[in-house]
């Protein structure tokens, strides 16, 4: 269910780190809780975030939730495909990365949950 090469937050975001960059999305559990996602408010490239800070918002038919950044760094890319098709996050949450961040403190990744720990949390 939850990819082993991802790291997870207690707030239900995931980050997939490769090299100096991390792609960030929300988990399958999060999309199920939110229901049909209709809109994503994502930051512009260049925005600098700290771990735990608000990265953007996810709006579903029943709620608006904030996306908290799992890691610190600078936003380098935003997944523009999701702007027109936010429902992709429901269909394939672990393939729907929202932003890519250039990590400023890679050691932070060690503070996150691994797939087994997260699966336990999301039970």
């Amino acid at each position: 269910m939850y990819p082993n090469d991802f790291k997870y937050t207690k707030d239900h975001e995931w980050v997939k780190v490769s090299g100096a960059e991390g792609q960030i999305g929300i988990t399958d559990y999060a999309q199920k809780q939110l229901g049909d996602i209709v809109y994503l408010d994502l930051p512009e490239p260049g925005k600098v975030v700290k771990q735990g800070q608000v990265l953007g918002t996810v709006e579903s038919v029943k709620a608006v939730s904030e996306i908290f950044s799992p890691v610190s760094g600078e936003v380098v890319r935003v997944n523009k495909d999701l702007a027109d098709k936010p429902e992709k996050v429901n269909a394939a949450p672990h393939e729907s990365w929202m932003v890519a961040v250039k990590l400023s403190n890679p050691a932070e990744v060690n503070t996150l949950l691994d797939a087994t720990q997260y699966a336990e949390l999301a039970k």
């Binding site: 809109y39 408010d41 512009e44 709006e59 709620a63 608006v64």
Partner: protein
């Protein structure tokens, strides 16, 4: 009952006092130091019988120059227009008059449809993609539009033209003073248009440029240079509109690439009155949709596939979004919006432009008459003739004296501008609408000529 409108009997009072263990009503005031307690009666006249009181109040009211009868030539953000009698009568219907937050789609389709039509007509009038329903008034709408621009651009500086209504600018400053948003004012040129040089100097890094259309001086300026400069700098353009009737005659802001229109709808059937209730509205391009404050009504399908009206995009609003909502305004000047809708529908697509044309013609005719009558005086139009139904007359030696004199002559005319614009101390703002018959306009012209001559000598 001791008092006619206080239903407690002596027995009621006695039982209440007994229940809380107090001997008399006066004992309740014991904690107030005796030195500051009122002894004896208030210094007001003795009570009147109700018929005497009504007569007294009517006598007092008759001392007012009331808008319905007096020759009024005031505008400056509040306008007199003829509202067909059915509007007030329809507003008294209990479905509209007494319902509060009637937004439950199962039982409020009529109200929601009326709001939807209000939004639709506002969009047609302003040339924008979507409109909310509604804001408190034009000043709060303008301020909310500026705040929306700061959220959309992630910038914290707002450029506002001094030719925007002075009270709107005050509201903007009050709202933003503790939000870390700075307000930069830019002046106007000799033609009353926004000073292009000041705009160019101020626009860098701004979230929005706010101008008024037609502006506070009545001048209809070409928005294109403002839009070009603002968009070049990545700022949004907000057009504040105090007289929406003008938009039935001139090109709407949407035609020039303006991003947001913040309007006051009082002109459309809502009587001029101190403190309202009035009705503000924000209309905007689609890219502003998610940051729009206030109620939005949309069309949806029910479970059987039938169209119906519902509140939409509520996730922007306080009852869902709490402290992160787009605005703390989560209500609607509903009855006033309905009034404006009925006014727009009553005049219709042909009537509204005709009414606007009549205003334009009468105001321009009035200026000609005044200039003909006061040809030998120093009185002159301050900003030329690119105006709708309001214009500034300058060249008075003593504006306040002229205004008082006109009042003696039976004309409620002219807002002295010196209070808000020290550099326009010799000027007054006049408004002419379809409510001013030709004879009144003739009378005003000669009265102004006489008073200007008297004040000079």
């Amino acid at each position: 009952m001791t008092h006619r409108y206080i239903p407690n009997t002596g027995e009621d009072v006695r039982r209440m006092l007994a229940a809380i263990g107090v001997g008399s009503i006066d004992d309740l005031f014991e904690p107030v130091p005796s030195g500051v307690r009122l002894r004896g009666d208030l210094k007001i006249p003795a009570a009147m019988s109700e018929p005497d009181l009504m007569r007294h109040l009517q006598d007092l009211a008759c001392e007012n120059a009331d808008c319905g009868r007096a020759a009024v030539f005031l505008g400056a953000g509040v306008y007199r227009h003829f509202a067909p009698a059915f509007i007030d009568q329809m507003l008294l219907r209990s479905e509209f008059y007494t319902a509060y937050t009637p937004y439950q789609p199962e039982i409020a389709q009529g109200t929601l449809q009326a709001i939807f039509e209000f939004q639709t007509m506002v969009c047609q009038l302003t040339g924008m993609d979507l409109a909310n329903a509604s804001m408190y008034d034009g000043s709060t709408a303008t301020t909310e539009a500026a705040l929306m621009a700061t959220r959309l651009t992630h910038r914290d500086r707002v450029v506002v033209a001094r030719s925007v209504h002075p009270q709107y600018r005050q509201v903007l400053k009050t709202y933003t003073q503790n939000l870390g948003i700075s307000i930069v004012e830019i002046g106007y040129g000799p033609d009353g248009n926004v000073d292009g040089g000041a705009l160019a100097a101020a626009v860098g890094g701004a979230a929005a440029v706010v101008f008024q259309y037609p502006n506070y001086f009545g001048v209809v300026e070409d928005p294109r240079p403002i839009v070009a400069a603002a968009h070049e700098a990545g700022a949004l353009v907000v057009a504040a509109v105090t007289e929406p009737l003008a938009l039935a005659l001139v090109q709407p802001p949407g035609a020039f690439g303006v991003d947001v229109v913040a309007a006051e709808m009082q002109s459309f059937g809502i009587p001029p009155s101190y403190g309202g209730p009035y009705c503000g509205v924000i209309a905007a391009t689609e890219k502003c949709m998610r940051q729009m404050p206030g109620r939005l009504v949309g069309v949806a399908k029910d479970t059987q596939g039938r169209s119906g009206f519902v509140l939409t995009l509520s996730t922007r609003e306080q009852h869902i979004r709490r402290e992160k909502a787009t605005s703390n305004i989560c209500t609607n000047s509903g009855l006033m919006a309905l009034c404006a809708s009925m006014f727009m529908a009553a005049y219709g697509k042909r009537g509204l432009p005709a009414l606007a044309r009549l205003n334009f013609d009468k105001a321009h005719h009035a200026l000609q008459k005044i200039m003909a009558a006061a040809a030998t005086s120093s009185v002159r139009p301050r900003f030329g003739d690119r105006f709708f139904n309001e214009f500034v007359l300058g060249g008075f030696a003593d504006v306040e004296a002229v205004q008082k004199g006109l009042l003696e002559d039976g004309f409620v005319a002219g807002v002295p501008l010196g209070r808000d614009y020290p550099e326009l101390g010799d000027s007054m703002l006049l408004c002419v609408t379809e409510m001013n018959p030709a004879a009144q306009i003739e009378g005003l012209a000669s009265a102004i000529a006489n008073r200007a001559a008297t004040a000079r000598t």
